[in-house]
Assembly symmetry: C2
Homo-oligomer: 337 residues x 2
DNA sequence: ATGAAAGCGCTAACAG
DNA sequence: CTGTTAGCGCTTTCAT
């Protein structure tokens, strides 16, 4: 492997001069030409281990996601990768698979490997102390006050869902929640939903199903438990083939899809009898169309903002949380036109 | 940041001794205890830049995928990550987005950054010379003879699809191909399909639609062109609400899904009138069930085998292609029980 | 403007 | 078995 030394020898200049050329510091044009020619000729590349050793950074960012099986995450990873690449960073991906130990292992590894920072798109609990001295930005979750968080405007999302359902003719709303625990940003959706209903005197209820270990991280996709739970809840609120509510706001598109299927399974038509709005705006495998009517999160903007925050955190030591990225309603067939 | 030197000073031993402890070389127990204590006390971590500089490797593997929007890739990435993590490697993810320049940039970056090897899950063309001196294993594709390839037993997959359709009562088969060009492993599916039909005297045809720039890499998901193409082909082969074929083998689950939708769109029932079998066995967002009847690729096994090959290539300088990983038929509602 | 040289943290060869 | 030390490739200060 050719090193800076080889280039220097070949070009007949000192190592320092080659280094300057590499790093864009001005040198005499004649030298520049010679060095440039040698670099090409010898097919020289900087050794980033050496550079990182010297500079004490790696330009590597670790992105932690719980899974790629939940269709919300791949587009997110995609967007983050795009953003990081543009900033000249590399992306290390860490799939925690909702295993606390695995997650800690990753963070350990991240510190070990001296990644410059972490973008945490994950709902797992993390011990506070393990996060010390590591630039980290989290999506949707407040690990601790010192860790900035990026998120959509979940509160407005909840409001928007309720308002949209009402505007589309619903009289009795349900907020159906299977999700992360209450100190996360997403839980603000419930509050937004409730506030709209209260202020506008809309009859409503909130049903919540939690499982701190696996809810809403994608692992329930493969479990029948989740579907059974949905079915039971729907049956508990149905009578004579009629569902108690005519508008449902679900905590995720996945839940919305299951709810839709289960309602249709007992002969209730969607959106004719019951309208459903999910959250996320997932479009995967559906030709660019949302899979259900939904409150769509601005994935690209989340990635962009989160990466900007993280780089700022790395450079300047601090960054402000941004938790109001704009959501929008998208039509996906589970609401009336 | 505490270094090996700090630990040595704190423990009252030489850095050599600390190094030995770190790397599991035996030292006097008393020293071991002291060093171990100091490491904990000072929260010491090995600097992988320094280690990598010394050892001339990084333990980083770059995985190149065209996109994460095609639901086939995330589970693949997931499986590769799992495998690499088990082997103590880190995974850098590179999303080429089907942009030749971007891909080359990545490979350049990979060389620049001294990743130890590349796992290429991509159909893009790559200039031969850029692949010199880089341990690389590719999925499904033969970049050049020296680059080992891992793939499913595509030929058997094609046979299996044809046989299954026939066994389920189909009389006139269609192989509907939108895909990679013919020198890829996947094209063997066509051959397997044809061989079965010829040997068993089954009436059949092959329709192929190619676009080297974007076919089957997921980018057509958002394009109407793809759907229009499918619609046109279906209409061209339909008369009086009847499709010319009663069994279709599609080159991907995505195509199968579109075909199904378009057939149903003109009133042809699936699987009653026409049965469809896709390829891949995608289960995303569908509660563990395949989205269509399909020939399923053994993703975990592909990842496992590919990683093993890559590590062998890195360690020993060479590895054999494996292109016969077993596929199986999975029921997904588009074939009769 | 250029070159010489120190040193980033670690490993391994060698001397003791 | 332990300590000393050279050197991995690079950047950067400091003379020149």
């Amino acid at each position: 492997m050719t090193t800076i030394k080889d280039v220097a020898r070949d070009a007949g200049v000192s190592i320092g001069t080659v280094s300057k050329v590499i790093n864009g510091v001005h040198v005499r044009d004649e030298y520049y030409q010679r060095v440039d020619a040698s670099i090409r000729k010898l097919n020289y590349r900087v050794n980033l281990n050496a550079r990182g050793l010297k500079a004490q950074r790696t330009n590597d960012i670790a992105v932690i996601v719980p899974t790629l099986e939940n269709p919300f995450f791949p587009p997110m990873v995609d967007a983050i990768e795009k953003e990081l690449t543009e900033k000249g960073k590399r992306m290390l991906i860490c799939i925690s698979r909702n295993d606390r130990n695995k997650l800690h292992g990753y963070i350990e590894m991240a510190r070990n490997n001296r990644v410059d920072g972490i973008f945490g798109v994950t709902y797992s609990n993390i011990d506070d102390d393990i996060l010390e001295h590591m630039p980290i930005v989290s999506f949707d979750r407040h690990f601790k006050p010192s860790i900035p968080c990026v998120a959509s405007d979940n509160f407005s999302g909840g409001e928007l869902a309720a308002r949209t359902l009402v505007e589309k003719g619903c009289k009795k709303l349900l907020c159906f929640w299977t999700g992360s625990d209450y100190d996360c940003e997403p839980s603000k959706r419930i509050k937004g939903f409730q506030q709209y209903c209260l202020r506008n005197h809309v009859e409503h209820n909130v049903l919540s199903y939690m499982d701190y270990e696996q809810v809403d991280t994608g692992f329930m996709y493969i479990s029948q438990i989740y579907r059974d739970m949905v079915r039971n809840i729907i049956q508990a609120h149905s009578e004579n083939g009629k569902f108690e509510f005519d508008g449902i706001f679900c905590s995720s598109d996945h839940l919305a899809l299951v709810v839709k299927e289960e309602l249709e399974g007992i002969g209730i038509r969607v959106p004719q009898e019951v309208q459903i709005i999910g959250f996320d705006g997932i479009q995967i495998m559906n030709g660019g169309k949302p899979i259900v009517s939904s409150i769509q999160q601005p994935v690209a903007q989340i990635a962009q903002t989160g990466v900007r925050m993280l780089l700022q955190l790395i450079e300047e030591g601090s960054a402000e949380s941004v938790v109001d990225l704009p959501v929008r309603f998208v039509e996906g067939g589970t609401t009336r036109q």
